[in-house]
């Protein structure tokens, strides 16, 4: 059996090398959780099926903080990988300005990305001076509340329909020995959850004005005061969830140890891997059931300049494959995100994804925080909110004052 397999593998290898100008394409990314890995495997499979090239996987676990220095070092060291994952937005601008990333406009034009990518803001985020430098692969939104149906049942409660009901249910959940809300210890989760509270309870316009225009008065105002009040409610609810990673926190909801979690739609991938069914085992509330809106952030792939014609051909092929309808469906179903093109058929989508698609179609969308803030500002927000959610001695007023300072000094 093993022999047979080896022979087969050898034959395949021979065929692969025999093909014309097939290249090994090294792709670096930080998708290593269960759902993420399954999704990226779809990319690799589709890429190898649709083209003659080979996907060489360069996964670096530990998120952007670990992977980014590797990517940037490789690029400025003059020995780049062939493609890498980045959150689009303002992150890659400098690499583009330094001429280190390849202009992919020719692929975008040939494939007609301008016409198919929806919302167009995704492509705009890839565009610098009219040229397109990246391939957006999905839409991720942050504004979701994931609830464990069984946890509420155990506490003898109805599953809440919005944030306020959830807050009201917290004491009963505690009594039933369930942590009302799960929150991982990593800083980005704290600021992310806060931004969701802000976008839904105060509304997307407020978020847009504060992060987009740096409106410090608004940040100090009454509306934000209410958001900070909600954040301190949330702080009470998350006491006792001693986990670090986001998917460990999601796992608390999956195993009904926690009532709910505010997390982006990528959490859905974890529910899927665990075999849970939307509507039956868990409930999702877009916009926390308060203000149905989704942000249209997402992931994109960039392609460094390599000066190697073979690699360039393979890069073009990969870029086209990533937005190919078949790839889009396969990938996004696994990842729990929405496809970047509205013309694909997502019959297999579950209830939550369908809700997301409806909201997207209705146009209730907002820009992602990554497109408004620099990573530097995000980092400051991370520090503030991770401290706030973990340390009950900081009052909501103090936190708001610090928040105003960050907003006032942001660039």
């Amino acid at each position: 059996m093993t022999h047979l397999r080896t022979t087969l593998a050898a034959t395949t290898a021979l065929c692969a090398t025999g093909a014309v100008s097939a290249a090994d394409l090294e792709v670096t990314h930080w998708w290593t959780s269960g759902g993420e890995a399954a999704a990226v495997a779809e990319f690799a499979r589709e890429f190898e099926e649709q083209t003659e090239h080979t996907w060489v996987d360069g996964a670096i676990a530990g998120g952007g903080g670990t992977a980014r220095p590797v990517m940037v070092s490789r690029i400025i060291g003059g020995d780049p990988m062939a493609a890498f994952q980045f959150n689009h937005g303002r992150q890659a601008e400098e690499l583009i300005e330094a001429g280190l990333l390849r202009d992919m406009t020719h692929v975008a034009e040939a494939e007609g990305w301008r016409d198919i990518v929806n919302p167009p803001s995704l492509l705009d985020a890839c565009t610098v001076d009219g040229r397109i430098y990246c391939a957006p692969v999905n839409i991720h939104s942050w504004q979701w509340l994931w609830l464990s149906n069984a946890a509420f049942e155990k506490a003898g409660l109805e599953v809440p329909k919005n944030w306020d009901e959830f807050v009201a249910a917290a004491p009963a959940l505690r009594e039933a020995g369930i942590t009302p809300m799960a929150l991982g210890g990593q800083p980005w989760q704290s600021s992310g959850a806060f931004n969701v509270l802000m976008a839904t309870l105060a509304g997307p316009e407020v978020l847009q004005k504060i992060y987009g225009d740096g409106d410090a008065d608004l940040a100090a105002g009454e509306e934000m005061k209410r958001v900070f009040k909600a954040a301190s409610d949330m702080r009470e609810m998350v006491q006792g969830s001693n986990v670090q990673d986001w998917n460990q926190a999601t796992n608390l909801v999956i195993t009904d140890q926690a009532g709910g979690q505010i997390m982006g739609d990528w959490a859905q991938g974890e529910f899927a891997v665990a075999g849970e069914v939307a509507g039956k085992d868990y409930t999702c509330l877009p916009g926390l059931g308060v203000h149905e809106v989704i942000s249209t952030g997402g992931d994109a792939f960039y392609f460094p300049e390599t000066g190697d014609a073979e690699i360039e051909a393979a890069q073009d092929a990969l870029a086209a494959t990533l937005l190919n309808p078949k790839t889009q469906v396969a990938f996004n179903l696994k990842k729990g995100s929405l496809p970047v093109r509205s013309d694909v058929d997502l019959e297999a989508a579950n209830d939550c994804m369908k809700k997301g698609l409806e909201i997207l179609a209705s146009g209730a969308i907002m820009p992602d925080v990554n497109m408004l803030n620099t990573e530097d500002t995000n980092n400051q927000l991370n520090d503030l909110f991770v401290q706030f959610f973990q340390d009950t001695s900081i009052s909501a007023e103090d936190a708001q004052a610090q928040f105003v300072e960050i907003v006032a000094s942001k660039d």
């Binding site: 996964a59 070092s73 990673d245 460990q248 974890e270 891997v273």
Partner: protein
């Protein structure tokens, strides 16, 4: 005797010398259960247990199944021993698309560690020898800068070194990585070698000079044969440091050269649903195995090497 250099140098040399001789030489300690002995052994046993506790927890956890871990007490021995986590950590754990566990990086780690250890030790020992016996003008200054370098956090040097390697055309190559390890190992190793060589009897060196021996001749024929212990110590330090390195390995090489610690990070940091503590612990132990074995083996060598040196001396 009043020279600090000489004494600090004795550090390792004398340790070993006395070590080797501890058994055969001198009167045997009193064997009675005196209060003194009870105190000494009692304290040492308690301390030893404390030091062994984490290892114990790692080993028993790596042999348990996940349900048992969730139920039980982390200190309890496994009810049902399973080697599944070890197999998984070595050959099956996934990161991204690659599901071949730590085995993928093992040989890379060897390929990185062996030349890096050899090169860094050769360079540092020659440095130490030059600093101890052939002081030239400015040597103290360079040495001070080197010690300053021992304190520089690695992250700070990440980009300057990327640029340096790029300009030398070594970026992404094994040679480049070996160079980086040699550079960052140099400060502490040079300090150790310098101190050791200063501790050797100066008469030997002077006699050799009178006989007309040169720099390299004295180094190879006189210094090296007397220096096994310090080489073993340097080797332990370097093997441990380089084998356990993650940052340089991942930043200065490519996936086909990634050391084992990159896979360890990937296994430990990529959570597939539930954190598999048993696999994490097995992966951790597997990664730590090489430095541990080198340490245990060379610990003996260390003693033996000195014994030989003592007979000759």
């Amino acid at each position: 005797m009043s020279d600090p250099g000489i004494l600090s140098a004795t550090v390792v040399g004398a340790d070993a010398a006395r070590d080797a001789l501890a058994g055969p030489r001198g009167p045997k300690p009193r064997r009675r259960f005196s209060r003194r002995n009870i105190f000494i052994y009692g304290t040492l046993i308690v301390v030893a247990l404390y030091y062994l506790l984490p290892l114990w927890v790692m080993v028993v956890t790596s042999l348990k199944g996940m349900p048992e871990i969730r139920m039980g007490n982390i200190f309890a021995p496994p009810v049902e021993i399973t080697f599944e986590p070890w197999v998984k950590a070595w050959a099956e754990a996934c990161t991204g698309l690659n599901c071949d566990g730590l085995s993928r990086g093992f040989w890379n780690s060897v390929r990185i560690t062996v030349p890096s250890v050899v090169v860094s030790i050769v360079i540092a020992s020659v440095n130490g020898y030059a600093l101890a016996n052939w002081r030239f003008k400015g040597a103290d200054m360079f040495f001070t800068i080197l010690i300053f370098g021992a304190f520089i956090p690695y992250q700070v040097m990440l980009y300057p070194i990327v640029i340096l390697l790029r300009e030398m055309g070594l970026y992404g190559s094994l040679t480049g990585l070996v160079m980086v390890h040699s550079i960052f190992g140099m400060p502490i190793l040079t300090l150790l070698f310098r101190n050791y060589f200063t501790s050797l009897p100066e008469e030997l060196f002077k006699a050799a000079r009178v006989d007309g021996a040169g720099f390299w001749q004295i180094y190879v024929q006189i210094m090296l044969p007397m220096s096994l212990p310090i080489f073993v110590v340097a080797m332990i330090l370097q093997v441990t440091g380089i084998w356990n390195d993650f940052l340089f390995g991942v930043v200065y090489t490519k996936p086909d050269l990634y050391p084992m610690t990159v896979q360890l990070n990937n296994i430990v940091n990529s959570v597939q649903g539930v954190k598999e503590y048993n696999v994490n612990m097995a992966a951790t132990l597997l990664t730590g195995l090489v430095p541990l074995v080198i340490y245990f083996v060379s610990g003996k060598l260390f003693v033996r090497g000195i014994a030989a040196g003592a007979v000759k001396g």
